[in-house]
Amino acid sequence: MQTSTPFMVDVLGSIDLPPQHTMSEASLPNHVQPFRMGRAQQWGVWLILLILLWSLSRVDLSWARFVLGLEGAGKFVERMFPPVFDPRAELVKGLWETLQIAVLASAAGVVLSLPMGLLAARNLMPASVTWVARFIITLCRTFHPVIVAIVFVKAVGFGVLAGILALTVASVGFLGKLFAEAIEEVSMKQVEAVRATGASFANVLGFAIIPQVLFRFIGFIAYEVDSNLRNSTMVGIVGAGGMGGTLFAAFQRFDYDFVLGMVLCIMALIVLGEALQLLVKKVFGQ
């Protein structure tokens, strides 16, 4: 019975041997203690702990301050209930704008990203072309959408247009990269076979590339719509239209119950986006 007991190995690396196999720790060969941390890793852990403690000591965080904060938080939460969905017009306008920004920015992003992703694919395009395309895509991804939104608000004025433009840029940065990577991962054997039939580049694209990437592209696009829904509530804060602006204004007025109402609506919208993504996955799963 005892001999069939498997060796018990705990996370620290010591081993519980079955009784009849007792031997001194020193006589164990080194490789029986496989989970020992290396010297460098041990130093790393100590260093991280030290940095944590040091930063804690520099922040002026006292127990009294913490209790004060808790009180404020309690009042804040208290004033949020019950949630209010008025003024209705403001709420509906904000939601509608958010939806507009998300959908239109995603659509424009897809239209721009398709050629951009193709041009950036290193298995189909010469290096000079992919270099330029990759530079543009990276540029689009360099700044957070909110920063880009500020620029567009300055350029085209307050409102939905600035939000759409900002999120279009973000979408190109994201989708362009994903599209290019998906195209680079296609099986070149299938491409070679279609090329060997004398097909033109457009036909190779239609019959060898697209069939291999289509479903992945649809998945990426669904994800991007979802991501734009969330981001479009953000860009409103800097005046680029959508729910964010309304939310920010309500905060300024201390209308916390309306804030909660809006937050609930935004959550509903996000859940809707999630459901859409699931639906897309189900329909185009294969």
């Binding site: 054997k189 070679e192 076979a193 039939t197 004398g198 097909a199 457009a202 239609g206 019959f207």
Partner: protein
């Protein structure tokens, strides 16, 4: 009249100074099945791929019915490729497309992109695709996705795709290496049948010497990038095989 394919002084080096193919001179002008045999890494695949310029030759030229393939521009090369059917070792079907769509890939050479993208192929091409499906015995799988087929079925689709090109020449790069012996023989018979029906030369890379001797009319033996045997299949002797593969223990 059968197609005439000529390789003149064909050479290829992937790395400068290390040629894989040396000065290959060959002529194919009868509607026969030619098997190219030789050890792995001896340049058989490179030779086949040089013919339709999937691999760019380094020296020499290929002449197909009096046209020099090496000199062609992109458009000319497309037209030339459309006349050369090719079958691959790993079938190279577009896996997510249906069997019918894979067959119609064979007519992409003369189908404008907008028609192909909308799947609005010419009715005569679709009729021909049905006939070709009958030829390879896969009518029941017309709507099946290519990746749902077995190896033998996939290779049949691969051959059907090449037949759809109405080729003047058929190339096959180790078409049976991933298949069991029975299916391999069936596939070789099918290739031979296609060549006879269309009266065109068929050139096949092979590993299986016994199968090559049985199916091929002519055998070309290669060793380290040189042609060391070129003659009728029934005249291939053990001495020739020794020159091609080296050593003799595997013959016993």
């Amino acid at each position: 009249m059968s197609t005439r394919l000529e390789l003149r002084g064909l050479g290829k080096s992937y790395v400068p100074g290390k040629p894989v193919l040396h000065q290959i001179d060959l002529c194919f002008d009868t509607p026969t099945l030619t098997a190219i045999i030789g050890p792995s890494g001896t340049g058989k695949s490179t030779l086949i791929r040089c013919i339709n310029r999937l691999v760019e030759p380094s020296q020499g030229d290929i002449w197909l019915d009096g046209v020099s393939l090496g000199q062609l521009n992109a458009e000319g090369l497309r037209q030339a490729r459309a006349r050369i059917g090719m079958v691959f070792q790993e079938y190279n079907l577009v896996e997510r497309l249906s069997v019918m769509e894979n067959l119609l890939t064979g007519v992409l050479g003369h189908t404008p992109a907008w028609r192909a993208w909308l799947r609005r192929f010419a009715p005569e091409d679709i009729d021909r695709a049905w006939q070709t499906l009958g030829l390879v015995g896969l009518q029941d799988f017309v709507n099946a996705r290519a990746d749902s087929l077995s190896g033998g079925q996939r290779q049949r689709v691969g051959i059907a795709r090449a037949v759809m090109q109405s080729p003047a020449l058929m190339l096959a790069d180790e078409p049976t290496s991933s298949l069991d012996p029975k299916t391999s023989a069936d596939i070789m018979d099918l290739l031979k049948q296609v060549g006879q029906q269309r009266s065109i030369p068929v050139i096949v890379n092979m590993h299986d010497v016994a199968l090559a001797k049985r199916c091929a009319d002519r055998i070309i033996g290669m060793h380290q990038g040189h042609v060391v045997y070129d003659g009728p299949a029934h005249l291939l002797s053990d001495a020739d095989l020794n020159t091609i593969y080296g050593g003799r223990s595997w013959l016993d």
